[in-house]
């Protein structure tokens, strides 16, 4: 299974990953702000994620780490 890890402190809420995700499972968490004052990104449905890493590649701030394979 895919695992996304967000370096939330670096997220600037630009939505580029949200728009780029082919599965449309990313969105900004409007219930919270990070230390910079932005709504950080979150994944609403990890089971649907294919670890394509498009979100990570379009993120200017290297917020997202993408892993695939069974976690121990």
């Amino acid at each position: 299974m895919a695992v996304l890890t967000f370096n939330e402190a670096a997220c600037k809420g630009c939505r580029l990953c949200v728009e780029a995700c082919p599965k449309k499972i990313l969105d900004l968490d409007t219930s919270r702000v990070n230390a910079k004052g932005y709504n950080p990104v979150l994944c609403s449905d990890m089971n649907t994620c294919t670890a394509c890493a498009i979100c990570a590649r379009v993120c200017p701030d290297s917020v997202i780490k993408v892993e695939k394979g069974a976690a121990a």
Binding site: A10, A56, R57, E67
Partner: protein, 256 residues
């Protein structure tokens, strides 16, 4: 079974958070440069030359030696470094105000001499750091803080086509224009940037990759819309593609 890392922040970048605005393309381009340096295994012998502009602090982001150049002079500074340290990898990272306006002499003559370093030219059609003034690359009718009614060709000319211009210089080995407005183009931009460093490793001479980039805050649009501006407004005027590729000349030679 341990999880396999598909993508993570490049070790070619320091841990420092980027100070760029939300959605700014500089971060994306930084990543491509950093990944290329790591993949080519040259990071530890690389010297980055930062410009004046939004990326003035680039030396805080690239995980290699860094030096900050006066406005427009990065190609001259890079010349000084590379001539003394020919076995090191040197790149100048410049914006369009820096390279296409105040630094035209330095970039043209670095190409003219065929200096064996790499230039990453970030074209976002505006002066970002100083607050969104008109650049030589600003599009016709584009509103900026110094063209509040839009850029008029009659008094300010047409946007400067830097890649086309530099491709006419015999000393230039590789000139390509790319964009980073979406995932597919980011992948293509990565290939171009990596190639520009490969050519330097092989001693082929002057390489420049012009990257069409978004400045959402300077353009007064949302980041997502800024990417559409690059695609719909910039790319028609600034066609993507390879403008010069002397793959078989200089250094060790050989086509790539």
């Amino acid at each position: 079974m341990a999880a396999k890392v598909i993508y993570e922040k490049s070790r070619g970048l320091k841990d420092n958070p980027l100070t760029y605005c939300p959605g700014c393309s500089h971060g994306t381009i930084h990543k491509l440069v950093a990944e290329s340096l790591v993949e080519l295994d040259v990071l530890e012998r690389t010297i980055a030359v930062a410009p004046v502009g939004c990326s003035v602090l680039a030396y805080n982001y690239f995980n290699c030696d860094g030096i900050q150049a006066a406005h427009g002079r990065a190609p001259a500074v890079a010349t000084g470094i590379k001539r003394v340290c020919p076995d090191k990898i040197v790149f100048a990272y410049q914006g369009d105000g820096d390279l296409a306006s105040i630094g035209t002499a330095e970039i043209i003559h670095a190409a003219h001499r065929g200096e064996n370093f790499t230039v990453i030219f970030v074209n976002n059609a505006i002066y970002g750091m100083t607050g969104g003034q008109m650049a030589p690359t600003t599009l016709i009718n584009q509103k900026t803080t110094t063209s509040p009614y839009g850029r008029f060709e009659e008094t300010t000319g047409k946007p400067l086509l830097v890649s086309e211009m530099l491709a006419t210089i015999p000393g230039a080995a590789y000139i390509e224009r790319v964009s980073v407005h979406d995932h597919a183009h980011i992948l293509k931009a990565k290939r171009a940037i990596k190639k520009a460093f490969e050519y330097q490793v092989e001693g082929k001479g002057f390489c420049m990759v012009e990257v069409l980039a978004a400045c959402p805050i300077g353009w007064n649009v949302l980041p997502v819309d800024s990417m559409k501006f690059v695609r719909d407004q910039m790319m028609p005027y600034y066609p993507l593609g390879v403008y010069k590729d002397r793959a078989n000349i200089g250094g060790k030679g050989g086509a790539l």
